[in-house]
Protein backbone atom coordinates (compact mmCIF):
# COMPACT_ATOMS: atom_id res chain seq x y z
CA UNK A 1 0.00 0.00 0.00
CA UNK A 2 1.31 3.42 -0.94
CA UNK A 3 0.58 6.00 1.74
CA UNK A 4 -0.19 9.64 0.98
CA UNK A 5 -0.14 11.91 4.01
CA UNK A 6 -2.88 14.46 4.74
CA UNK A 7 -0.38 17.36 4.72
CA UNK A 8 0.56 16.60 1.13
CA UNK A 9 -3.09 16.52 0.06
CA UNK A 10 -3.81 19.74 1.96
CA UNK A 11 -0.92 21.56 0.26
CA UNK A 12 -1.83 20.34 -3.21
CA UNK A 13 -5.48 21.38 -2.81
CA UNK A 14 -4.42 24.82 -1.52
CA UNK A 15 -2.08 25.28 -4.46
CA UNK A 16 -4.73 24.17 -6.97
CA UNK A 17 -7.30 26.61 -5.49
CA UNK A 18 -4.84 29.47 -5.99
CA UNK A 19 -3.75 28.35 -9.44
CA UNK A 20 -7.32 27.97 -10.72
CA UNK A 21 -8.31 31.43 -9.44
CA UNK A 22 -5.36 33.27 -10.99
CA UNK A 23 -4.45 31.37 -14.16
CA UNK A 24 -6.93 30.95 -16.94
CA UNK A 25 -6.14 27.66 -18.76
CA UNK A 26 -4.27 28.35 -21.99
CA UNK A 27 -6.92 26.63 -24.10
CA UNK A 28 -9.45 29.19 -22.79
CA UNK A 29 -7.22 32.12 -23.74
CA UNK A 30 -6.75 30.59 -27.20
CA UNK A 31 -10.53 30.19 -27.53
CA UNK A 32 -11.05 33.86 -26.57
CA UNK A 33 -8.52 34.95 -29.22
CA UNK A 34 -10.26 32.83 -31.86
CA UNK A 35 -13.61 34.27 -30.75
CA UNK A 36 -12.26 37.81 -31.14
CA UNK A 37 -11.29 37.07 -34.75
CA UNK A 38 -14.76 35.64 -35.43
CA UNK A 39 -16.87 38.29 -33.68
CA UNK A 40 -18.39 40.88 -36.01
CA UNK A 41 -19.69 43.28 -33.35
CA UNK A 42 -17.08 45.89 -32.45
CA UNK A 43 -18.46 46.14 -28.91
CA UNK A 44 -18.23 42.34 -28.69
CA UNK A 45 -14.60 42.37 -29.83
CA UNK A 46 -13.90 45.03 -27.23
CA UNK A 47 -15.38 42.83 -24.47
CA UNK A 48 -13.29 39.84 -25.63
CA UNK A 49 -10.15 42.01 -25.55
CA UNK A 50 -11.02 43.06 -22.00
CA UNK A 51 -11.36 39.41 -20.95
CA UNK A 52 -7.96 38.57 -22.47
CA UNK A 53 -6.39 41.58 -20.73
CA UNK A 54 -8.12 40.58 -17.47
CA UNK A 55 -6.52 37.12 -17.70
CA UNK A 56 -3.11 38.68 -18.28
CA UNK A 57 -3.45 40.87 -15.16
CA UNK A 58 -4.69 37.94 -13.05
CA UNK A 59 -1.76 35.79 -14.12
CA UNK A 60 0.61 38.21 -12.36
CA UNK A 61 -0.79 36.73 -9.16
CA UNK A 62 -2.12 39.81 -7.37
CA UNK A 63 -5.74 40.07 -8.52
CA UNK A 64 -7.86 36.92 -9.00
CA UNK A 65 -9.60 36.48 -12.39
CA UNK A 66 -12.94 37.37 -10.83
CA UNK A 67 -14.13 38.75 -7.49
CA UNK A 68 -16.45 35.73 -7.32
CA UNK A 69 -13.84 33.16 -6.37
CA UNK A 70 -16.61 30.63 -6.25
CA UNK A 71 -17.59 27.52 -4.41
CA UNK A 72 -14.93 24.82 -4.60
CA UNK A 73 -15.67 21.40 -6.02
CA UNK A 74 -12.98 18.76 -5.72
CA UNK A 75 -13.05 15.74 -8.02
CA UNK A 76 -10.92 12.85 -6.79
CA UNK A 77 -9.84 9.68 -8.51
CA UNK A 78 -8.42 7.48 -5.82
CA UNK A 79 -6.29 4.52 -6.79
CA UNK A 80 -7.30 1.44 -4.81
CA UNK A 81 -3.64 0.78 -4.03
CA UNK A 82 -3.15 3.86 -1.89
CA UNK A 83 -3.81 4.53 1.76
CA UNK A 84 -4.96 7.94 2.87
CA UNK A 85 -6.03 9.17 6.27
CA UNK A 86 -8.27 12.10 7.10
CA UNK A 87 -8.98 12.71 3.42
CA UNK A 88 -12.07 14.86 3.95
CA UNK A 89 -10.39 17.06 6.54
CA UNK A 90 -7.17 17.33 4.49
CA UNK A 91 -9.15 18.67 1.54
CA UNK A 92 -11.20 21.14 3.59
CA UNK A 93 -8.01 22.35 5.29
CA UNK A 94 -6.44 22.75 1.84
CA UNK A 95 -9.33 24.94 0.72
CA UNK A 96 -9.08 27.05 3.91
CA UNK A 97 -5.33 27.46 3.38
CA UNK A 98 -5.65 28.29 -0.33
CA UNK A 99 -8.37 30.88 0.23
CA UNK A 100 -6.46 32.49 3.10
CA UNK A 101 -3.04 32.58 1.48
CA UNK A 102 -4.38 33.39 -1.98
CA UNK A 103 -6.43 36.41 -0.82
CA UNK A 104 -9.54 34.79 -2.28
CA UNK A 105 -13.07 35.81 -1.36
CA UNK A 106 -14.95 33.70 1.15
CA UNK A 107 -18.39 33.32 -0.36
CA UNK A 108 -19.92 30.34 1.44
CA UNK A 109 -22.91 30.89 3.74
CA UNK A 110 -25.43 28.68 5.50
CA UNK A 111 -28.37 28.50 3.10
CA UNK A 112 -31.19 30.02 5.14
CA UNK A 113 -29.70 32.32 7.76
CA UNK A 114 -26.91 33.33 5.30
CA UNK A 115 -24.13 33.18 7.90
CA UNK A 116 -20.69 33.18 6.25
CA UNK A 117 -18.38 30.28 7.20
CA UNK A 118 -15.50 32.77 6.70
CA UNK A 119 -13.10 30.29 5.10
CA UNK A 120 -14.93 29.26 1.91
CA UNK A 121 -15.57 25.73 3.15
CA UNK A 122 -17.15 23.31 2.91
CA UNK A 123 -15.95 22.33 -0.52
CA UNK A 124 -18.00 19.72 -2.34
CA UNK A 125 -16.06 16.49 -2.81
CA UNK A 126 -16.73 13.88 -5.48
CA UNK A 127 -14.80 10.62 -5.31
CA UNK A 128 -14.23 7.74 -7.68
CA UNK A 129 -12.26 4.64 -6.81
CA UNK A 130 -10.05 3.57 -9.71
CA UNK A 131 -7.31 1.01 -10.34
CA UNK A 132 -3.71 1.86 -9.56
CA UNK A 133 -1.65 3.67 -6.95
CA UNK A 134 -2.19 7.28 -7.87
CA UNK A 135 -4.40 10.06 -6.58
CA UNK A 136 -5.82 12.48 -9.14
CA UNK A 137 -7.10 15.77 -7.75
CA UNK A 138 -9.07 18.22 -9.88
CA UNK A 139 -10.24 21.47 -8.33
CA UNK A 140 -13.08 23.28 -10.02
CA UNK A 141 -14.04 26.80 -8.97
CA UNK A 142 -17.71 27.48 -9.63
CA UNK A 143 -18.99 31.05 -9.75
CA UNK A 144 -22.65 31.64 -9.03
CA UNK A 145 -23.52 34.20 -11.69
CA UNK A 146 -23.58 31.20 -14.01
CA UNK A 147 -24.58 28.51 -11.49
CA UNK A 148 -27.78 30.50 -10.78
CA UNK A 149 -28.94 30.21 -14.38
CA UNK A 150 -28.30 26.45 -14.60
CA UNK A 151 -31.10 23.86 -14.35
CA UNK A 152 -32.10 20.23 -14.48
CA UNK A 153 -35.35 19.03 -16.00
CA UNK A 154 -36.96 15.61 -16.25
CA UNK A 155 -37.98 15.35 -19.90
CA UNK A 156 -40.24 12.62 -21.21
CA UNK A 157 -38.72 9.92 -23.43
CA UNK A 158 -40.98 11.11 -26.26
CA UNK A 159 -39.32 14.53 -26.22
CA UNK A 160 -36.03 12.92 -27.25
CA UNK A 161 -33.10 14.70 -28.83
CA UNK A 162 -35.29 17.59 -30.02
CA UNK A 163 -36.48 18.16 -26.46
CA UNK A 164 -32.89 18.26 -25.24
CA UNK A 165 -31.95 20.89 -27.84
CA UNK A 166 -35.00 23.01 -26.96
CA UNK A 167 -34.30 22.83 -23.22
CA UNK A 168 -30.65 23.86 -23.61
CA UNK A 169 -31.56 26.79 -25.88
CA UNK A 170 -34.33 27.87 -23.49
CA UNK A 171 -31.93 28.02 -20.52
CA UNK A 172 -29.23 29.88 -22.48
CA UNK A 173 -31.75 32.38 -23.84
CA UNK A 174 -33.19 33.01 -20.38
CA UNK A 175 -29.70 33.44 -18.92
CA UNK A 176 -28.95 36.24 -21.38
CA UNK A 177 -26.23 38.55 -20.11
CA UNK A 178 -26.29 37.32 -16.50
CA UNK A 179 -23.64 34.54 -16.67
CA UNK A 180 -21.04 36.81 -18.37
CA UNK A 181 -21.07 35.44 -21.92
CA UNK A 182 -19.25 34.06 -23.84
CA UNK A 183 -20.28 31.02 -21.84
CA UNK A 184 -19.28 27.38 -21.75
CA UNK A 185 -22.26 25.03 -21.61
CA UNK A 186 -22.07 21.67 -19.87
CA UNK A 187 -24.94 19.30 -20.63
CA UNK A 188 -25.69 16.05 -18.80
CA UNK A 189 -28.13 13.64 -20.40
CA UNK A 190 -29.46 10.53 -18.69
CA UNK A 191 -29.04 8.88 -15.29
CA UNK A 192 -31.26 10.22 -12.52
CA UNK A 193 -31.97 13.73 -11.25
CA UNK A 194 -28.60 14.22 -9.54
CA UNK A 195 -26.62 12.08 -11.96
CA UNK A 196 -27.58 14.32 -14.89
CA UNK A 197 -26.48 17.39 -12.90
CA UNK A 198 -23.16 15.79 -12.05
CA UNK A 199 -22.65 14.78 -15.69
CA UNK A 200 -23.21 18.41 -16.73
CA UNK A 201 -20.60 19.55 -14.23
CA UNK A 202 -18.14 16.87 -15.32
CA UNK A 203 -18.71 17.99 -18.91
CA UNK A 204 -17.48 21.47 -17.91
CA UNK A 205 -14.32 19.89 -16.50
CA UNK A 206 -13.35 18.48 -19.87
CA UNK A 207 -10.52 20.58 -21.38
CA UNK A 208 -12.23 23.37 -23.33
CA UNK A 209 -13.28 22.50 -26.86
CA UNK A 210 -12.39 18.81 -26.70
CA UNK A 211 -15.34 17.01 -28.25
CA UNK A 212 -17.04 13.85 -27.01
CA UNK A 213 -15.58 10.61 -28.35
CA UNK A 214 -18.91 9.36 -29.71
CA UNK A 215 -19.85 10.68 -33.13
CA UNK A 216 -23.55 11.30 -32.45
CA UNK A 217 -22.76 13.21 -29.25
CA UNK A 218 -20.08 15.21 -31.05
CA UNK A 219 -22.66 16.19 -33.67
CA UNK A 220 -25.09 17.26 -30.96
CA UNK A 221 -22.35 19.39 -29.33
CA UNK A 222 -21.64 21.10 -32.64
CA UNK A 223 -25.32 21.62 -33.43
CA UNK A 224 -26.01 23.16 -30.01
CA UNK A 225 -22.99 25.46 -30.25
CA UNK A 226 -24.12 26.71 -33.63
CA UNK A 227 -27.69 27.29 -32.42
CA UNK A 228 -26.56 29.04 -29.21
CA UNK A 229 -24.29 31.33 -31.20
CA UNK A 230 -27.25 32.06 -33.45
CA UNK A 231 -29.19 33.53 -30.51
CA UNK A 232 -27.26 36.80 -30.86
CA UNK A 233 -26.69 37.33 -27.11
CA UNK A 234 -22.99 38.02 -27.74
CA UNK A 235 -20.09 38.91 -25.42
CA UNK A 236 -21.41 40.47 -22.18
CA UNK A 237 -24.90 40.14 -23.66
CA UNK A 238 -24.30 43.22 -25.83
CA UNK A 239 -25.14 41.41 -29.06
CA UNK A 240 -22.89 39.47 -31.42
CA UNK A 241 -21.95 36.12 -32.86
CA UNK A 242 -20.01 34.71 -29.93
CA UNK A 243 -22.38 33.70 -27.13
CA UNK A 244 -20.66 30.41 -26.32
CA UNK A 245 -17.10 29.12 -26.63
CA UNK A 246 -18.04 25.44 -26.42
CA UNK A 247 -20.76 22.95 -25.58
CA UNK A 248 -19.64 19.78 -23.79
CA UNK A 249 -22.05 16.87 -23.32
CA UNK A 250 -21.78 13.78 -21.13
CA UNK A 251 -24.33 10.97 -21.22
CA UNK A 252 -25.31 8.01 -19.05
CA UNK A 253 -27.96 5.29 -19.50
CA UNK A 254 -31.31 6.15 -17.95
CA UNK A 255 -34.65 4.53 -17.08
CA UNK A 256 -37.20 3.49 -19.74
CA UNK A 257 -39.62 6.07 -18.32
CA UNK A 258 -37.32 9.09 -18.25
CA UNK A 259 -34.94 11.52 -19.90
CA UNK A 260 -33.22 13.73 -17.32
CA UNK A 261 -31.30 16.66 -18.79
CA UNK A 262 -29.10 19.14 -16.94
CA UNK A 263 -27.63 22.37 -18.25
CA UNK A 264 -24.71 23.72 -16.26
CA UNK A 265 -23.59 27.11 -17.48
CA UNK A 266 -20.15 28.56 -16.83
CA UNK A 267 -18.75 31.96 -17.74
CA UNK A 268 -15.73 32.14 -20.06
CA UNK A 269 -13.47 31.60 -17.05
CA UNK A 270 -13.29 27.83 -16.71
CA UNK A 271 -11.33 27.73 -13.50
CA UNK A 272 -10.00 24.21 -13.15
CA UNK A 273 -6.61 22.95 -12.06
CA UNK A 274 -5.40 19.36 -11.72
CA UNK A 275 -2.59 17.41 -10.22
CA UNK A 276 -1.68 13.75 -10.02
CA UNK A 277 0.08 12.57 -6.88
Amino acid sequence: MRRIGPERIRDVVAQLCIEANYQLPKEVIQALRRARRRENSSLGREVLSQLIENARIAEEGVYPLCQDTGMVEVFLEIGEGIRIEDLEEAIQEGVRKGYREGYLRKSIVSPLDRKNTKNNTPAIIHTKIVKGKRLKIAVFIKGFGSENVSATRMLLPSQGRKGVVEFVLEKVREAGADPCPPIVVGVGIGGTLEKSSLLAKEALLRPLGRHHAKKEIRFLEKELLKKINGLGIGPSGLGGKVTSLAVHIETFPTHIAGLPVAVNINCHALRYARKII
Binding site: E53, D68, N116, G145
Partner: protein, 178 residues
Protein backbone atom coordinates in the same frame (compact mmCIF):
# COMPACT_ATOMS: atom_id res chain seq x y z
CA UNK B 1 -27.52 52.57 -32.00
CA UNK B 2 -26.29 56.05 -31.15
CA UNK B 3 -23.01 55.85 -29.28
CA UNK B 4 -21.63 58.80 -27.40
CA UNK B 5 -18.83 58.89 -24.86
CA UNK B 6 -19.15 60.89 -21.68
CA UNK B 7 -17.12 61.54 -18.60
CA UNK B 8 -19.26 61.82 -15.49
CA UNK B 9 -18.37 62.95 -12.00
CA UNK B 10 -20.30 61.82 -8.95
CA UNK B 11 -22.52 62.80 -7.29
CA UNK B 12 -24.86 62.58 -10.25
CA UNK B 13 -27.84 64.86 -10.83
CA UNK B 14 -31.00 64.48 -12.87
CA UNK B 15 -29.48 66.89 -15.42
CA UNK B 16 -26.34 64.76 -15.78
CA UNK B 17 -28.18 61.47 -16.30
CA UNK B 18 -31.05 62.72 -18.45
CA UNK B 19 -28.85 63.14 -21.52
CA UNK B 20 -27.54 59.57 -21.31
CA UNK B 21 -28.91 57.00 -23.75
CA UNK B 22 -28.68 53.23 -23.91
CA UNK B 23 -25.34 52.20 -25.48
CA UNK B 24 -23.48 55.38 -24.46
CA UNK B 25 -20.06 54.74 -23.01
CA UNK B 26 -19.39 56.53 -19.79
CA UNK B 27 -16.25 56.96 -17.68
CA UNK B 28 -17.17 57.55 -14.07
CA UNK B 29 -15.00 59.41 -11.57
CA UNK B 30 -15.60 60.24 -7.93
CA UNK B 31 -17.17 58.52 -4.95
CA UNK B 32 -19.37 55.45 -5.40
CA UNK B 33 -20.65 52.88 -2.88
CA UNK B 34 -20.67 49.09 -3.12
CA UNK B 35 -23.67 47.01 -2.06
CA UNK B 36 -24.86 43.52 -2.89
CA UNK B 37 -27.41 41.02 -1.59
CA UNK B 38 -27.00 41.09 2.20
CA UNK B 39 -26.14 44.79 2.40
CA UNK B 40 -29.20 45.66 0.30
CA UNK B 41 -31.37 43.78 2.74
CA UNK B 42 -29.87 45.81 5.59
CA UNK B 43 -30.14 49.09 3.67
CA UNK B 44 -33.87 48.57 3.23
CA UNK B 45 -34.27 47.82 6.95
CA UNK B 46 -32.20 50.93 7.75
CA UNK B 47 -34.32 53.00 5.39
CA UNK B 48 -37.43 52.03 7.36
CA UNK B 49 -35.70 53.07 10.59
CA UNK B 50 -34.45 56.25 8.88
CA UNK B 51 -30.86 55.39 9.78
CA UNK B 52 -29.09 54.89 6.45
CA UNK B 53 -25.32 54.48 6.84
CA UNK B 54 -24.57 56.08 3.45
CA UNK B 55 -26.03 58.92 1.39
CA UNK B 56 -28.40 57.69 -1.33
CA UNK B 57 -29.64 60.81 -3.13
CA UNK B 58 -27.74 61.33 -6.41
CA UNK B 59 -25.32 58.50 -5.60
CA UNK B 60 -24.23 55.38 -7.50
CA UNK B 61 -24.44 51.90 -5.98
CA UNK B 62 -22.00 49.39 -7.46
CA UNK B 63 -23.06 45.74 -7.15
CA UNK B 64 -19.81 44.03 -6.21
CA UNK B 65 -18.18 42.04 -3.43
CA UNK B 66 -14.41 42.45 -3.80
CA UNK B 67 -11.77 39.85 -2.97
CA UNK B 68 -9.61 40.54 0.13
CA UNK B 69 -7.05 43.28 -0.34
CA UNK B 70 -3.34 42.36 -0.37
CA UNK B 71 -0.95 44.43 1.74
CA UNK B 72 0.02 47.64 -0.05
CA UNK B 73 -2.86 47.44 -2.55
CA UNK B 74 -6.09 49.46 -2.67
CA UNK B 75 -8.54 46.60 -3.22
CA UNK B 76 -8.74 43.06 -4.61
CA UNK B 77 -10.62 42.05 -7.75
CA UNK B 78 -13.88 44.00 -7.94
CA UNK B 79 -16.02 43.27 -10.97
CA UNK B 80 -19.82 43.51 -11.19
CA UNK B 81 -22.21 40.87 -9.88
CA UNK B 82 -25.60 40.00 -11.41
CA UNK B 83 -27.92 42.96 -10.88
CA UNK B 84 -31.36 41.38 -11.01
CA UNK B 85 -30.85 39.88 -7.55
CA UNK B 86 -30.98 43.45 -6.24
CA UNK B 87 -34.27 44.20 -8.07
CA UNK B 88 -36.51 43.37 -5.06
CA UNK B 89 -34.67 46.02 -2.99
CA UNK B 90 -34.17 48.70 -5.62
CA UNK B 91 -37.44 50.62 -5.87
CA UNK B 92 -37.39 52.07 -2.29
CA UNK B 93 -33.84 53.28 -2.98
CA UNK B 94 -34.91 54.91 -6.23
CA UNK B 95 -37.69 56.67 -4.32
CA UNK B 96 -35.02 57.96 -1.97
CA UNK B 97 -33.19 59.55 -4.91
CA UNK B 98 -30.65 56.89 -5.93
CA UNK B 99 -29.41 58.15 -9.30
CA UNK B 100 -27.22 55.36 -10.65
CA UNK B 101 -26.52 51.65 -10.34
CA UNK B 102 -23.68 49.57 -11.75
CA UNK B 103 -23.73 45.81 -12.27
CA UNK B 104 -24.16 43.19 -14.95
CA UNK B 105 -27.16 41.78 -16.78
CA UNK B 106 -30.76 42.83 -17.26
CA UNK B 107 -33.12 44.54 -14.77
CA UNK B 108 -36.78 43.71 -14.18
CA UNK B 109 -39.52 45.63 -15.92
CA UNK B 110 -40.70 47.02 -12.54
CA UNK B 111 -37.25 48.43 -11.85
CA UNK B 112 -36.96 49.90 -15.34
CA UNK B 113 -40.32 51.62 -14.95
CA UNK B 114 -39.35 52.96 -11.53
CA UNK B 115 -36.07 54.25 -13.01
CA UNK B 116 -38.07 56.17 -15.56
CA UNK B 117 -40.33 57.60 -12.83
CA UNK B 118 -37.46 58.60 -10.59
CA UNK B 119 -34.96 59.51 -13.34
CA UNK B 120 -32.14 57.10 -12.66
CA UNK B 121 -29.71 55.19 -14.87
CA UNK B 122 -28.24 51.70 -14.78
CA UNK B 123 -24.75 51.10 -16.07
CA UNK B 124 -23.33 47.76 -17.20
CA UNK B 125 -19.75 47.21 -16.10
CA UNK B 126 -17.72 44.60 -17.98
CA UNK B 127 -18.55 41.20 -16.43
CA UNK B 128 -15.77 38.76 -15.67
CA UNK B 129 -13.17 41.54 -15.54
CA UNK B 130 -12.64 41.86 -11.79
CA UNK B 131 -8.85 42.02 -12.06
CA UNK B 132 -8.94 44.61 -14.84
CA UNK B 133 -11.50 46.84 -13.10
CA UNK B 134 -9.52 47.05 -9.85
CA UNK B 135 -7.17 49.40 -11.73
CA UNK B 136 -9.79 52.13 -11.86
CA UNK B 137 -10.34 52.07 -8.10
CA UNK B 138 -8.04 54.52 -6.37
CA UNK B 139 -9.30 54.30 -2.77
CA UNK B 140 -11.48 51.84 -0.89
CA UNK B 141 -12.78 51.86 2.64
CA UNK B 142 -15.37 49.72 4.42
CA UNK B 143 -17.88 52.17 5.86
CA UNK B 144 -20.84 50.01 6.88
CA UNK B 145 -21.68 46.45 7.91
CA UNK B 146 -18.06 45.17 8.25
CA UNK B 147 -19.46 41.94 9.74
CA UNK B 148 -20.78 41.06 6.28
CA UNK B 149 -17.22 40.51 5.03
CA UNK B 150 -17.25 40.65 1.22
CA UNK B 151 -20.81 41.99 1.38
CA UNK B 152 -19.89 45.02 3.50
CA UNK B 153 -20.48 48.48 2.04
CA UNK B 154 -17.27 50.05 0.71
CA UNK B 155 -16.85 53.68 -0.23
CA UNK B 156 -14.77 53.71 -3.40
CA UNK B 157 -12.99 56.55 -5.16
CA UNK B 158 -12.92 55.65 -8.83
CA UNK B 159 -11.24 57.30 -11.80
CA UNK B 160 -12.53 56.86 -15.36
CA UNK B 161 -14.32 53.62 -14.42
CA UNK B 162 -15.55 52.22 -17.78
CA UNK B 163 -19.27 51.43 -18.11
CA UNK B 164 -22.02 51.38 -20.72
CA UNK B 165 -25.51 52.81 -20.21
CA UNK B 166 -27.72 49.71 -20.02
CA UNK B 167 -31.02 51.30 -18.89
CA UNK B 168 -31.59 55.01 -19.43
CA UNK B 169 -34.05 57.48 -17.87
CA UNK B 170 -36.58 56.63 -20.56
CA UNK B 171 -36.58 53.07 -19.25
CA UNK B 172 -35.00 51.72 -22.43
CA UNK B 173 -32.78 48.66 -22.09
CA UNK B 174 -29.60 47.60 -23.86
CA UNK B 175 -29.93 43.86 -23.45
CA UNK B 176 -31.68 41.60 -25.87
CA UNK B 177 -33.81 39.09 -24.09
CA UNK B 178 -36.64 38.20 -26.42
Amino acid sequence: MRKTSYKLETPLTVEKVKKLRVGDRVRISGTIYTARDASHKRLIAALKRKSLPIPIRDQILYYTGPTPVRPGKVIGSAGPTTSFRMDPYTIPLLKKGLRGMMGKGERSQEVREAMKRHQAVYFAAPGGCGALLSRYIKEAKVIAYPDLGPEAIYRLEVEDFPVIVAVDTKGKSLFRRE
